[in-house]
């Protein structure tokens, strides 16, 4: 589903953010990426949804070479990828309902279908009573669930998450993790970048550790991860 072949990326000439990364993520897999700040986790995710192009190497998503896509083809790649961030990136001027509906409006869905689908996913997220509120009126956990609803409402093939639980307490972290797992069970490939060890320990998934732009460790899910 996701293949990186000898991918390097340098923001400036002599400071590379990723060095010769080769990584394969299979269809329906759930993996964690971890590592200290500046290790290259965010850069790697940005390569996957076409916000960056590698300086060297190739990024393939579902057989499609992302670095060869033209700017007008990138949107169509992104329609099969859901993305969530630590700061949620919700639109403060729009209601919860409108924030989630954006994804389907972009796809050209009719109003009635959008209404049904958005209500369905917001009900799953336990947010049906908040549809008319703007994001500022919600707690951090609720805001992240809205962001997840926006990312998952069109049932994407891939879900990318960049520090999704960075601003949340333990109860909310578990709730978010469960939503990832449910999406994964339904067939979505999930990639979560985090340095939250507890989140990783609780989930027993494949773990890739990055440091200074290199993959320094890969643990398969059977191996688990030793608690600190």
């Amino acid at each position: 589903m996701i293949q990186l072949h000898n991918v390097s990326l340098a923001y400036q000439k002599d400071a590379s953010a990723l060095n010769d990364i080769t990584l394969h993520i299979h269809k329906g897999e759930f993996i964690f990426m971890t590592g200290p700040s500046g290790a290259g986790k965010t850069t790697l995710l940005r390569l996957l949804y076409g916000a960056l192009t590698p300086t060297r190497g190739q990024v393939l998503i579902d057989g499609q070479n992302v670095s060869r896509l033209t700017p007008s083809e990138i949107p169509f790649l992104r329609r099969s990828i859901g993305v969530v961030f630590q700061d949620f990136k919700l639109l403060s001027s729009r209601t919860v309902f409108e924030n989630v509906a954006i994804t389907l409006e972009v796809l050209g869905w009719g109003r009635a279908d959008i209404g049904k689908k958005v209500m369905h996913i917001l009900r799953q997220m336990g947010l049906e009573s908040k549809i008319h509120l703007t994001p500022q009126r919600l707690s951090g956990g609720e805001q992240q669930r809205v962001a997840l609803a926006r990312a998952l409402v069109n049932e994407p093939k891939i879900l990318l998450a960049d520090e999704p639980t960075g601003n949340l307490d333990d109860a909310n972290k578990n709730q978010i993790l469960n939503i990832f797992k449910e999406a994964n069970v339904k067939g979505t490939t999930v990639v979560v970048a985090t340095h939250d060890r507890r989140l990783i320990e609780n989930s027993h998934k494949r773990l890739v550790t990055l440091s200074k732009g290199d993959i320094v460790e890969q643990l398969e899910k059977e191996e688990g991860i030793k608690p600190f």
């Binding site: 700017p71 949107p75 992104r78 993305v83 990136k89 919700l90 729009r94 954006i102 409006e105 050209g108």
Partner: protein
Amino acid sequence: MSGQLFSGRFGYFFTRALINIRQNIFVNVVTVGTITLALLIVSLFLLVFVNLENAAASWSERVQVTVYFDRELSGQEQSSLRSSILALPGASRVSYVSRDEAFKRFKSRLRGQETLLEGVPSEVLPTSFEISLKSSQRDSAGVEAFVTSLRQLPGISEIQYGEEWVRRFNSFLNFVRLLGALLGGFLVVAVVFIVSNTIKLTIYARRDELEVMSLVGATRFFIKAPFLIEGIIQGAVGSLLALLLLLGLYEVFLHNAGSFLTFNPTSGLSFLPMEYGGGIVLAGIFLGFLGSLTSLKRFINI
């Protein structure tokens, strides 16, 4: 089918633009306010300029060519000369001034001192033809050309046309036009700069929206269209408000200002003609559209 799809899409973009205006009312008020003020300044300038041009046109009616004769002309002479003068290119009106008429005018100029003229016979004054020129013929070159062809007519010797006055009036008009073009040019550049920067700032304030749309896979056109429609609406509303304000200012302050400015004492200042109003609205729409388009280009590369 594709037409239906297009109108459906357009409907969506238009509704989206209206909702965006409601949801971002503050930035929209700022943008519309800036466009209104900027275009108000431009239209005030235009109003003054148009009235100056009108005044110049009425002043230029004083450009007259007079042909003098030292005797009274018979009716037949008058009419044959009149028709040959009117046949010359550029002549618009010809009137004959008899000795009596000339004497009457002279007397009225000496009002209060008429006694000076006692014993002066009307025969000392010449008779004349006063010729008004078409407006296109009223500049120095035009008058000169007319006078040259007038001299070719038989029976005409003495011609006067206030060369100095025509020359000065023309250089004054040219100066006013040059000043107008320069000031107008600077004004337009300043307006474009201010409006496009305001729009840039308001779009910058909403860059999250551009980023989120791009993340969920919106094409550039899909992201831009509602912003462009918003820009067009802002430009149209701003320019209409500017015209309304101008009309208000005109009715309250400027309507009667002409009498003390002696531009056009009979009618005062006139308001902008319809086509200028239409031009200002079009300029507003164009400003809003282009301002949004160039600002979006800068921010959509996420």
